[in-house]
Assembly symmetry: C2
Homo-oligomer: 383 residues x 2
């Protein structure tokens, strides 16, 4: 159901010929109102793709009537001509839908440093518009895949209103968002400011804490559009909780489909002095290549967890650190704890718990193991 | 010739039985004076191995009469008992040599979280002492290997005085030093303060800028011992240059032997606003897993260089960035530059030049590609 689960939205996904493979590569999501409220969160990478620069401006206005997304090319590092391509894309969507280009968001994903084939993309928009449907959410989700092995959607239905969404992302997954495009829709009747508050709160604890490979993309985009079509104004807390639930679901799906991964690793940092400390320690553990290799080898190598913690500025005493792997406290008081042979690592999900013994704050970061398949997939991506 | 190239030093390397393989695992380096001046630089990881805690105290006194080094176990995260093991090791060396335990430096390398087999290590010290020789430098260098495929030594001979050294390190190589043990010796007649100044200056631009896999060890140790046996007091600048030359040589050997690597990558950052900016950008590029995979695949994927630069706080404008790979400026003004097909990446050494166009500072960071062999080696290390 994806982005068309909420009332007031239509979507389409087609193969416009942007990808050489002939796979679907162009998606269109249209908000049919009555409201056109929107919010967005974008990559914090200072090298931003043209569609990010464009869409940041669009979202500032608080109104988005449609989103056009393409896979098969990131349109990043393409200079002024690349920005013109994004502008022309929005203009074409506006023309076809009879809308204002300043309210059309654009998102792109794929290889950096290549111009988009506009001779294929622009006619594709016309074709996609002709296929817009209240059941088009799945096709839209399929059309934004790059190296994703499956498309990702999530829906939360509440009393009279719904939040749904789609996501893509499999590599270059890191904080300040993953290499991902996400479109969330709701038929709740809320203004842009409320959407913005709820979206920022949700991404902070979900997408921002999915860190598959430490690499931050130039194109990350998360949009939340509200049509108001349900006529319902939910309480803010209920709405924020639903948005967070959809984001958490999609973020978990991204980690579960990360390039080449064989393990999904939940890094729980507990008893930190502050939440910032917990996040810093969690990220340091999640980005430690040696540890990620060890987890791949089903080796509960807790020494690598401690060496990762030791590189942070978080409050802790080395001889008061405890570490559990899948519930077995293999490190106690900074030294050898329970027998490492008790750790069962056969399953895809692995939980690393780092107890800093320095307070009562906590945070969870999700990451993946590092595998030969990751190396293979990313050493051949543009060749 | 290693640590015995300079006059006044003897060394030995033996198989004490610490390693199950039966390979050499214990080295002893003795300064026979007349001077016993010393300086040291240690890991900045806050989780420090017992021998690091011990040797930091020893070096503070400015005098080191001997260094005992073992491979086969890091003696890190081993608690108070592990510290007692280090202490007992120094005591045994002092006893055998007729020296003061407070002037015996200890260094260990191997797996974290395991106690050392003291029943093998202590008798080994007695045997090593019996084999001390002015020609023992090579054997000492061999005995400190872990996953190193070759032992590493370097010597610079000047007019009447010499600086020589040995190093080990192949994984967990990162800033604030690599996972490495390094012992440098000189027969120049210099005091501990001068040694300290020269050693810190040299490590800052050599070992601190070798970043193979972003992982900082708990055991990194670099020691510089002076015997004064040449009777020569070199000019400071000449001495500092010789120490830097030996460190640079050893650092380059560490990168060249990094676990699983197939490419040595020199990341040159030029035209930065400050040297700190250049180092920050260089490290960000050197730690980008996606880029490291691309280099492994001989893919001049400059978009990944830009996305890495974009995550830093360095001064730059995205549309004024230039990137060359092996001399071909594949990115100009933040966009597509020369034809990427012109880039020849067949050789082991790859040079990435990032021009920030923001000033006249520069720095070079060395790293390696990310390979399936790295994953394999590090997923099976402790199993």
């Amino acid at each position: 159901m994806s982005v068309t689960a909420a009332q007031g939205f239509t979507a389409a996904g087609i193969a416009a010929g942007i990808k050489d493979s002939g796979n679907p590569d162009l998606a269109l999501v249209v908000n049919n109102g009555p409201r056109l409220a929107a919010a967005g969160v974008f990559t914090s990478n200072r090298v931003k793709a043209a569609p990010v620069v464009w869409s940041e401006q669009v979202v500032k206005g608080g109104m988005v009537s449609a989103v056009v997304l393409n896979s098969g090319g990131a349109n990043a590092c393409t200079g002024p001509l690349g920005f013109q391509d994004t502008h022309a894309t929005a203009e074409r969507v506006a023309e076809v839908l009879g809308q204002n280009a300043g309210e059309i968001a654009v998102a792109s994903t794929g290889l950096i440093g290549l111009r988009l084939p506009m001779d294929k993309l622009l006619p594709g928009i016309t074709r996609a518009a002709a296929e817009l449907s209240a059941h088009g959410g799945e096709k839209a989700a399929i059309a934004i895949k790059t190296t994703d092995s499956v498309h990702k959607t999530a829906v939360v239905e509440k009393d009279g209103w719904t939040v749904g969404g789609m996501a893509k992302g499999a590599g270059m997954l890191a904080p300040g968002l993953a290499t991902m495009l996400v479109v969330l829709t709701t038929d709740a009747d809320l203004d842009a400011g409320t959407l913005d508050t709820a979206l920022r709160a949700a991404t902070r604890t979900t997408f921002d804490r999915a860190d598959s490979d430490g690499c931050m993309s130039t194109n990350d985009t998360v949009l939340l559009l509200a049509s108001g079509a349900s006529g319902t104004v939910p309480a803010y807390d209920d709405f924020a909780a639903a948005v967070e639930q959809v984001c958490a679901d999609l973020a978990r799906q991204l980690i579960g489909d990360a390039e080449g991964a064989s393990k999904d690793i939940k890094v729980e940092v507990i008893n930190a002095a502050t939440e910032d400390d917990a996040v810093e320690v969690g990220r340091s553990i999640a980005r430690n290549n040696l540890l990620k290799c060890a987890i791949h080898g089903e080796d509960p190598n807790w020494g690598r967890v401690l060496s990762a913690i030791g590189t942070t500025a978080a409050a802790f005493e080395p001889d008061r650190l405890n570490v559990a792997i899948n519930g077995v406290w293999v490190c106690k008081d900074g030294s050898v704890g329970e027998d490492r042979d008790l750790v069962d690592m056969r399953y895809r999900e692995v939980v690393i718990t780092a107890d800093l013994n320095a307070g009562d704050a906590a945070a969870t970061i999700w990451t993946n193991d590092l595998t030969a398949d990751y190396v293979h997939e990313n050493s051949a991506y543009s060749s």
